[in-house]
Symmetry: C2
Subunit: 278 residues, 2 copies
């Protein structure tokens, strides 16, 4: 594994220390892993909070600033932040106009943000969550019920962040965030696997001339593996689903059937002897 890191154990805190050193406009709580805009909450402005597992930088800490997020809380690599972080972030940006939680649709993130929202509401802070689910490649996935949330997050943070900066109320900011999500669709293609530092080796193997269509951002299985093709051809294949997400269900069923069959074949191939039938 070739990475410019110090140790898998300190990746997140090292990165936070770097952000603190590079960006005097941010307040970085390294211990509790919360990045906020310096200067505390802005009275009367809706606060925007996002967060998720690390390893997708510059999400979300790189988008904290004027007209975008008010706070971000990074979890460990590919691991949801905990509700305490989210609660601390929510309280830190509360300017008494409510707080928007921008949540990528992964089960851990959704549950933890939900808990954090309940805790914040117990403390009298109004919270509205918006779940991002732009990835049209697969319907359900390894860490997700429904579609995964991916690149649309950046557009939501930018566009809803601009509206909040203009002084709009929580409902309007949340409505716009939902609209941006609904109008965004994405489809991932992997040339190679990522390597989680703590694991030290690629999450999966792809052959030299092979790619995976519809991959997730943590290496969650996509829809099919196929031969590397030209950019135009791959873009057209991805766009088919971006333009017609209705086709997902059928393709997903076919994909599941293929994967199930593949498992059967592998079990059969590995079986030392098969019982006779009849």
């Amino acid at each position: 594994m070739k990475k410019l890191i110090n140790s898998p154990d300190t990746i997140v805190t090292d990165a936070l220390a770097g952000i603190a050193a590079a960006h005097p406009g941010l307040a970085v709580d390294i211990e509790n892993k919360v990045i906020t805009r310096a200067g505390g909450p802005q009275a009367g402005k809706v606060g925007l909070v996002s967060g998720g597992g690390s390893g997708h930088e510059p999400l979300h800490g790189g988008f904290v600033g004027y007209g975008m997020l008010d706070a971000a809380c990074p979890g460990e690599v590919f691991t949801s932040p905990v509700p305490d972080q989210m609660l601390a972030a929510t309280k830190a940006v509360n300017g008494d106009a409510g707080v928007l939680h921008i949540v990528k649709n992964y089960t851990g993130d959704v549950l933890n943000f939900q808990m954090a929202a309940e805790l914040a509401e117990d403390e009298g802070i109004e919270v509205v969550p918006v779940v991002i689910n732009d990835d049209v490649a697969v319907q359900d996935s390894l860490y997700t019920a429904g579609r995964r949330g991916v690149g649309a997050t950046v557009f939501v943070e930018k566009i809803a962040g601009a509206l909040a900066e203009e002084g709009a109320g929580l409902d309007k900011v949340a409505d716009l965030a939902r609209e941006v999500n609904e109008r965004s669709r994405s489809f991932g293609v992997a040339l190679t696997s990522c390597t989680v530092p703590a694991a030290g080796k690629p999450t999966f193997d792809l052959a030299e001339a092979e790619i995976e269509m519809g991959i997730g951002i943590h290496g969650e299985p996509g829809r099919t593996r196929t031969a590397l093709a030209g950019a135009r051809e791959l873009a057209a294949a991805a766009l088919e689903d971006v333009e017609e997400p209705a086709s997902i269900e059928k393709a997903e069923l076919v994909g599941r059937f293929e994967r199930a069959l593949d498992r059967v074949f592998r079990v059969l191939a590995a079986a030392p002897e098969l019982p006779e039938v009849g």
Copy 2:
């Protein structure tokens, strides 16, 4: 080679077509490979032009726009653009306040921009070139006499671009560009080689746990190969030269001596039989 391209032959024109489709604020001359801000030259504003081999995106086409470059001309991958492109770009952004050429210090770029400047001056356009040479890793290099020009280019384009947008004259804009370059120093580290699409294979090999310190952006040899170490240690080694560029010459001499010896050893190892001495 796993790349999302159509063909090595059409990379640059495909990319230009993509830029044209994505950015209505730009005017893209795909045939002559010149990107300018839409709307033609701005009267009374110093024009900023840069360019260089492709393969370093978003340099330079990604930085054409308000407060940055007025035009960029991309060459083929790792190949200088030709003087005709640079001349076309210079004429396209000429608002009768002179044109600044921002040139990364590679011999081909420097010579071609010099020729373009002479041609432009023949047509009555005042041109001032600023050569960027921030890379303190080596003194001379495969395609460069003196230091190489690397990341400082972006800062020059941004900072001098902002001053030009404010209406400053050519001399002032050029002075600031030079100052930004003089205050910038960089040092490259490679974990792996790049793969030039037309070549289809890595330019050089690095072992699994090996890195190259002081590498150039085209894979030009750096100073030393060493074992992969922690980020803090590598940053400290690079910073030593960033903070004390005076040490370059000595280190460079040692590096050259080592490389020369290495060649001798390889020749000896490959020689079928050596003549007796005596």
